[in-house]
């Protein structure tokens, strides 16, 4: 036997006891070739292309999950940003109809989420982009599986404050119609074109016809090895995490490549992000607490996140030649029991959460705020977060849920993967006059970097 019993046990226990899984396999599909001036024909082409390919993805992923004994939790589809293929149908009603088509294609093929109902507006909006944003409250509240994104900033173009202002108002309207709709929308700076994770996945314009992207998971695995080394210094701790992430990334690489090969599509990337769930022992916050912090949010948390993500990237980069997507450490509030607990105990507030996102993508994720928060304040929260991404050449995003009728201290339970979000306090002072200026924050200078 070339593999030792210790090694077999280590791998088997990662899956059986530490919740290791392939969090998502996301097939990117180019829909440009479905464009048709006849709207009915266009919808049929979109439905057929998604449905044919998605069904194969589901059956092949299930087969490989069995072969390797690694659960492949989610099978998803990302498509060309919808605003780019709706140029000849720029009405709100038709945007809602195409969203319903995407929703139906996803349901009929056993896909839990389909991403790409979005637009790239970092420099400015086309007519189609504006109609798409206008349709979002209806789309997000009436469809089940359609996820949406807007890219509103980049380090090359700067930050489109006009779009951010519209998004603040759009989120308020969406929450009033159906609060869970907000959980299916993310606004980005520097959105990656090959991100496999929802809600922000889309099939970018630089991608081939198809691309198979993989998101691994493994907070439980990392916590397990950190717990086994309670006294080592930070250099040693980083080494231990690197070695572990190397192993779990290799599992993703193996399964991703084989799945792409079996589907006859190019393999895209492995996304290194540590993605928590609300399962006990599957929390990123708990890893930071195993480092030695009493609660995430305590002073030292920013450094702890920086150390963690740096070690994850180094271990993962050694394991796969195709790293991409978000490749950060996810710290969504509602999807991580440790984060929920830290907010409820008063250890973590919105300001500290924002600080943590400065050293790890993917930004302010899955957090709830009071429903009476003014739209300008929501836009300002988004603008702050995107500014961190624009200035620091990194991806940042915001998935915020203004919950009608709820106040700080209350919480909202989404159930399933989306978890439970305690409502967080926002700064009561107004940003309205600043946000009203609108326009575009110019791109940052790339020299003089101190």
């Amino acid at each position: 036997m070339t593999i030792t019993t210790d090694e077999v046990y280590e791998t088997a226990s990662m899956i059986l006891q530490q919740n290791l899984d392939i969090r998502t396999t996301t097939l990117g599909i180019n829909l440009m070739d479905c464009i048709d001036t006849d709207f009915e024909k266009f919808k049929t082409k979109v439905y057929d292309k998604i449905q044919n390919n998605a069904s194969k993805l589901v059956s092949e992923a299930d087969r490989l999950g069995l072969k390797y004994g690694v659960p492949i939790v989610n099978k998803r589809i990302s498509v060309t940003p919808i605003s780019l293929i709706m140029g000849t149908h720029p009405t709100k009603e038709k945007f809602i109809e195409i969203a319903e088509t995407l929703d139906k294609a996803a349901k009929d093929s056993g896909i839990d989420f389909i991403g790409g109902f979005g637009a790239l507006v970092h420099k400015g909006q086309t007519k189609c982009d504006s109609v798409l944003i206008d349709s979002l409250p209806d789309v997000l509240s009436s469809t089940e599986r359609v996820c949406s994104f807007i890219n509103a900033g980049s380090n090359i173009a700067g930050l489109n404050l006009d779009a951010v202002n519209e998004i603040g108002r759009m989120l308020k309207k969406t929450a009033e119609k159906n609060v869970i709709g907000c959980a299916k929308f993310v606004v980005f700076a520097n959105a990656p074109e090959d991100n496999p994770f929802m809600a922000g996945a889309f099939h970018g314009v630089g991608e081939p016809d198809f691309s198979l992207n993989i998101g691994i998971s493994g907070p439980g695995v990392v916590k397990h090895v950190v717990d086994k080394h309670p006294d080592c210094d930070l250099t040693a701790l980083s080494e231990i995490i690197k070695r572990t992430v190397f192993k779990i990334t290799r599992a993703g690489e193996l399964i991703g490549r084989e799945l792409a090969n079996n589907l006859g599509v190019p393999f895209g990337i492995v996304d290194l992000s540590l993605a928590p769930t609300t399962a006990a022992g599957d929390s990123v916050a708990n890893i930071l607490e195993s480092f030695g912090l009493e609660k995430v949010g305590a002073h030292g948390s920013t450094m702890a996140v920086a150390l963690l993500i740096n070690a994850v990237k180094k271990g993962g980069a050694m394991a796969s030649g195709n790293i991409g997507g978000l490749s950060g450490t996810f710290i969504p509030v509602s999807e991580d029991l440790g984060m929920i607990d830290a907010v409820e105990k008063g250890a973590l507030n919105l300001d500290k959460l924002e600080a943590l996102t400065a050293v790890c993508s993917v930004g302010l994720d899955m957090f709830a705020i009071p429903g009476d928060t003014p739209a300008e304040t929501i836009s300002a929260i988004i603008a702050d977060e995107l500014a961190i991404g624009v200035v620091n050449n990194k991806t940042t995003g915001v998935r915020v849920i203004p919950v009608p009728g709820k106040k700080p201290g209350d919480s909202i339970d989404f159930g399933g993967l989306l978890g439970r979000a305690p409502v967080m306090k926002v700064n009561r002072f107004s940003s309205a006059a600043f946000m009203k200026r609108g326009g575009r924050m110019p791109a940052p200078i790339t020299s003089l970097r101190n």
């Binding site: 036997m1 070339t2 593999i3 019993t5 210790d6 090694e7 077999v8 046990y9 280590e10 791998t11 088997a12 226990s13 899956i15 059986l16 006891q17 069995l66 072969k67 390797y68 004994g69 690694v70 192993k247 779990i248 290799r250 599992a251 690489e253 193996l254």
Partner: protein
Amino acid sequence: MEKELLFITVIGEDQKGIVAKISGLMFDNCINIEDIDMGVKEGYFVMTMFVDIKESKKPLADISDELKKLGKDIGLNIQIQHENLFKMMHRV
């Protein structure tokens, strides 16, 4: 003929007849046992069995289901995984 090699891992509390029950299931399905090892890891009894399923009477999905059922009956976690996973994870 090229082999198709997988690892079966059994984790839990030691008890009589574990090897007999699993090797019986392998024999019944024409699966050859290439190697077997056992010991205690982190306080758990761990048995690993290296098997070739090339001539198996049943597809992997059925073997996996039968092992899971057996594991449930005797209160142990049983996992079957292709050897390539271990090669990828533990060899550079």
